[in-house]
């Protein structure tokens, strides 16, 4: 069933376009545009790496939050989980296999992303702890995205509704995370308050500091993860309640 789930994920062209193609294109394109007139090599590295680390957060949002949610909703709409259950395949087995498959897909996507970054971008090399923290943060963020995606699909149970909701969340996160042209510093205070609650903001705004091993106060970032996790928990609880 693991291979089946992996085929199920990779069979969705959406995750290739939005989960791999778009982050790669955006990272290279935005970075080149942003640094085109810079002369200070250190500044080029700083800006390139900040953009690269920030856009990396789009990969779990596109593949897990949107990709998985849409796939799950489509299957629920068609009654596929019920059909599989009648063949003796339990729901938790399906979910576990899907989570592992998403992990494999994410790992491959990030491997490609880092390979492209190393080959085509002028990136600052991380300190060991910075790299490990980036991996941990991406893993936590992906897990929360998985829970939110699962809950949205289980609540909406329809492909169209799920697609619409996750697309809105995706673009809202991109916008508030400072990836749509307006940086955190230039946002109105209301939007800044909202942006502070999103883990994606910290990937694009602050992660360069962690990446290079400089001193960083993690409290706001942890609060954002806790908030996002709490939202996921509430949505999951609502989804379980609705379906039992």
């Amino acid at each position: 069933m693991m291979l089946y789930e992996l085929r199920n994920i990779t069979g969705n062209p959406f995750v290739h376009i939005f989960g791999i193609g778009m982050p790669l294109f955006m990272a290279v394109f935005i970075t080149r545009t942003a640094v085109s007139e810079m002369t200070d090599a250190a500044m080029v590295k700083n800006v390139s790496t900040s953009i690269f680390l920030g856009i990396g957060a789009l990969i779990p949002m596109a593949t897990v939050l949107m990709g998985y949610a849409v796939l799950h909703a489509q299957e629920l709409e068609k009654g596929i989980p019920e059909r599989l259950r009648l063949f003796g395949i339990k729901n938790y087995v399906t979910i576990c296999n899907r989570a592992l498959s998403e992990l494999i897909f994410l790992s491959v996507a990030f491997a490609l992303y880092f390979l492209t970054g190393i080959l085509f971008m002028d990136l600052e090399a991380p300190v060991f702890s910075g790299f490990i923290l980036y991996v941990i943060c991406i893993a936590c963020f992906s897990a929360i995205c998985f829970a939110i995606g699962h809950a949205i699909a289980a609540l909406a149970k329809r492909f169209s509704v799920t697609y619409c909701i996750t697309m809105l969340v995706y673009f809202a996160c991109m916008m508030l995370g400072g990836m749509m042209g307006i940086s955190y510093e230039n946002m109105p205070s209301v939007l800044q308050a909202a942006a502070k609650l999103l883990p994606v903001t910290y990937f694009s705004r602050d992660f360069f500091t962690i990446w290079t091993g400089e001193t960083y106060n993690f409290i706001s970032m942890i609060q954002a993860y806790l908030f996002f996790g709490a939202v996921a928990g509430i949505l999951l609880f609502a989804a379980i309640r609705k379906n039992t």
Binding site: Y4, N8, G79, I80, R83, L86, G88
Partner: protein, 299 residues
């Protein structure tokens, strides 16, 4: 519950909102080796009964079985699968075996002539191919109890006949119990030994096909088209309930049957004779049921 009973249902009630979709009071027992045809018009509660047995809908009452859920195989009315991969991979994942490693699976694929469809995605399959795809996987489960819910719905006459012949032949020498929901009585003639007749969520009757025929239609029945000429020819004879386009004449004795057939031959009339006709069982069982309730029967 008796030793040979696979499943027993008693005092079962299923509600959809305020509507009662199914209400079974007297016990229904499905025994080992039973081939039960579940019949009734739309909204009779046939699929609801299967869904309640499988635990897919909430119900009140008791459904007892000594089988684990994994020992019950089901072909639902609507079966959907992912479109992200060819059917071969879906089949191998669900059955947890490689086609190349399972002789039994290869035999089933050959038996149902599905080999050419293995590389196709599910959405690319025709209606008949889709049904065969699920049937192969249901049969691979080799379950003691199997449900087929309208397995031939949406198929053309020829595909339907071919599929039912294959099903009948496959299960001929097997001990598995089957519950088959169908609107096509001729399919149940081949597949079912027992009938569970439902109407608007109530059980009209349950029993051996032959017993039910004797109970509601007598020894045998002669069926002919309902035309003015035929109506006039048999106006004085007792008739059984039947669909509007047919006339059904009961033959309680051999002499009565001889008399009727002689009359039919003398007037060169086409007719069929049966002692198991499910359509006649259904029509007359429903009539008796409605009469018991003080209602008129419209077939």
């Amino acid at each position: 519950m008796e030793q040979s009973a696979l499943l027993s249902i008693e005092n079962l009630t299923v509600r959809y909102g305020k509507d009662t979709a199914l209400q079974i009071e007297s016990p229904i027992i499905i025994e080992e080796g039973d081939r039960v045809g579940i019949i009734g018009s739309n909204g009779a509660g046939k699929s609801t009964l299967i869904k309640s047995i499988l635990g897919l809908v909430h119900y009140e009452g008791s459904i007892h079985t000594r089988l684990q859920m994994e020992q019950i195989a089901t072909h639902m009315q609507f079966n959907e699968y992912t479109d992200a991969m060819p059917t071969k991979h879906i089949m191998e994942a669900i059955l947890q075996t490689k086609i190349s490693r399972s002789q039994k699976l290869r035999d089933l694929i050959d038996y149902f002539e599905f080999g050419d469809c293995l590389r196709k995605k599910y959405s690319r399959l025709s209606g008949g191919q889709r049904q065969r795809f699920t049937i192969i996987m249901v049969m691979m489960q080799d379950a003691p109890l199997t449900f087929y819910d309208e397995v031939t719905s949406g198929l053309d006459f020829e595909t339907r006949q071919k599929l039912v012949e294959k099903l009948a032949s496959w299960y001929q020498d097997r001990d598995s119990s089957l519950c088959i929901v169908s609107h096509y009585y001729e399919e149940l003639e081949q597949l079912a030994d027992k009938l569970l007749i439902l109407d608007k969520g109530h059980v009209i009757d349950y029993g051996q096909k032959e017993d039910l025929f004797r109970k509601y239609c007598g020894r045998a029945v002669i069926v002919l088209n309902n035309s003015t000429e035929n109506e006039q020819l048999f106006w004085s004879y007792e008739k059984l309930a039947s669909p509007a386009h047919l006339i059904a004449l009961p033959c309680e004795t051999e002499e009565k049957e001889k008399e009727l057939t002689a009359l039919l031959l003398a007037h060169n009339k086409n007719y069929t004779r049966s002692s198991t006709d499910i359509e006649m069982i259904y029509a007359n069982a429903k009539k008796a049921f409605l009469e018991r309730q003080g209602k008129e029967c419209e077939l």
